[in-house]
């Protein structure tokens, strides 16, 4: 059986000349939980957005379930997109709309235009929305405005919206980077559950290597737009870690409830003399 997703020599050069992705090739099998790691600016967001063409790759091919995504246009591209859910660091909910409306947005790719314009979702879609909100434990907030929710709750709405698509693939761009460690774990567990229970393949970028080790079945590390590591989480030893994050990086273990960054870069030499008290954390 061919892989669910295959990236072939993806290059992305942004206008202005930044080479965000430099010949990335990757094959993702059904059921995998792939965690993308890498320093800030290494190209994680760009890679995820090339998969559903929110960002147009400069060259290379994306093949999803035997369909060439990069060649798809208009309605065909939208049909592919609705099979890929996506969740975001900033949740990207329509803040002034209700939680229910936000969840229903996940159904737009299946909905005739008049239903959108008239604001009349079908009964089936409505019930699906309630079911998905219940699944992420937020049914009680269905009629609240999205911006009245906490960050963790908003991200669960984001997951519900993506689940509404009944996707085969879930793209998650730093889904827990705006959340505290305890909430991070609760959101990651929902992703784990949809991976296990629904068999949805997950590609998720993360800041914390401890989370990557805990939830990923496979880790792909990007460095300067290239794949620097691709293998099991356990394969990332000290040497690999320094390769990915740079010589000065130190891994910090964090568990739920702890509030500390994974990485603390201690300035050395010249930097240290200028600002001895500064602790610079790579990745914001």
């Amino acid at each position: 059986m061919p892989p669910l997703l295959s990236l072939e020599h993806i290059v992305k050069v942004y206008p202005g000349g930044t080479r965000a992705l430099d010949d990335v090739s990757l094959q993702v099998e059904r059921g995998e939980f792939v965690v993308l790691i890498g320093l800030s600016g290494s190209g994680k967001s760009t890679l995820l957005r090339c998969i559903n063409r929110l960002v147009e790759p400069t060259s290379g091919r994306v093949v999803f379930d035997r369909t060439d995504v990069t060649a798809a246009r208009g309605a065909e591209l939208r049909r592919i997109r609705r099979r890929m859910g996506m969740i975001f660091q900033q949740f990207n909910l329509v803040r002034r709309s209700s939680v229910l409306h936000n969840a229903l947005a996940g159904r737009l790719g299946y909905q005739p235009l008049w239903r959108t314009l008239a604001g009349r979702p079908s009964r089936v879609d409505l019930e699906l929305a309630f079911a998905n909100l219940e699944r992420v434990g937020i049914l009680g907030k269905a009629f609240s405005r999205a911006d009245a929710l906490s960050g963790g709750q908003q991200q669960r709405v984001g997951i519900a919206r993506a689940l509404m698509q009944r996707p085969d693939l879930m793209l998650a761009d730093e889904p827990v980077a705006s959340l505290d460690p305890a909430t991070s774990h609760s959101v990651m567990r929902y992703l784990e559950e949809i991976n296990h229970a629904d068999g949805i393949t997950v590609i998720c970028s993360l800041h914390f290597l401890s989370l990557a080790r805990r939830y990923g079945t496979r880790v792909v590390a990007l460095k300067g737009g290239r794949v620097a590591y691709d293998g099991p989480p356990a394969g990332i030893d000290d040497g690999r870690f320094r390769e990915i994050y740079g010589e000065d990086a130190v891994e910090v273990e964090i568990g739920p409830g702890q509030d500390a960054p994974l990485l603390a870069k201690v300035p050395t030499g010249a930097e240290a003399s200028a600002a001895e008290h500064l602790i610079d954390i790579p990745d914001r």
Binding site: L54, R82, A105, R107, L108, L113, T116
Partner: protein
Amino acid sequence: MSAKYFTARGLPVPAELGPAWRTSWRRWTAIAATLAVLAVGVRITDIDTSRANPEYAAQIVFGQLFRPDWNALFSMEDVESVWDTGLGLMVVTIMLAVVATAASIVLALPFSFLGARNIMSGHPVSLAVYSAVRLLFTIIRSIDILIVGIIGVILFSIGNAAGVFAIGFHNVGVLGKLYSEAIENIDQGPIEAVTATGANRLQVIWTAVLPQIVTPFIALTIYRLDANVRFAPILGFVGAGGIGLVLFQNLQLLRYPQAGAIILAIVITVAAMDFFSAQIRKRLL
């Protein structure tokens, strides 16, 4: 100075900490240029106060303008309907602004989406449309409303039609720009997220853009309505209808008590409008 901090460490000294003359040179040039412009301005405008007549002015202002002749507002003599009385004309003037604002909304609303960069980016053709629409807004806005009023009077002859035309036309440019910028200022995240679900462009606008712009659009519209009601009385001075027409005639005929009554009516209307529009916008935001 604190430049020592850098030299002691062998670091390049930031320009801001360089010799003082470099920054002060710029400052003195700016001051000198400003003074020069002012000096030339005062000279060529030839401000002449020698013919001022304070006693006459005081007599007119306090003796006539501030002793309003309320008949100018209420008298039904020589008029065909209540709308031709001073007060009636005030209401007509307000309605003139309301109708003109409504007309400009109808045109500005659809065009503002074409003039919003975030909606139109992604394709060279749509980007060209965006630039054209924004240029159009700028051109329309740059034609002063009094000039449009004069053109309106030539087109429709003296009367309210010219006033509606002037305010309506000018505000297509103003509201179009304000609406477009409001659309550009919305949170892009939901647009990205809804696009990712496989929604088409219209669905994205409907679901992710509209809920974000309703409130700013209402606030901007009220703000413009306020400005238009404020401006409508002045349009009468070029013949473009409303109470200004009558005010202008009274001033020409040196009927100051009548003019005073009309001016008072305008001031009260504008103040009330100002108050209510501020209240409504405060509630909205």
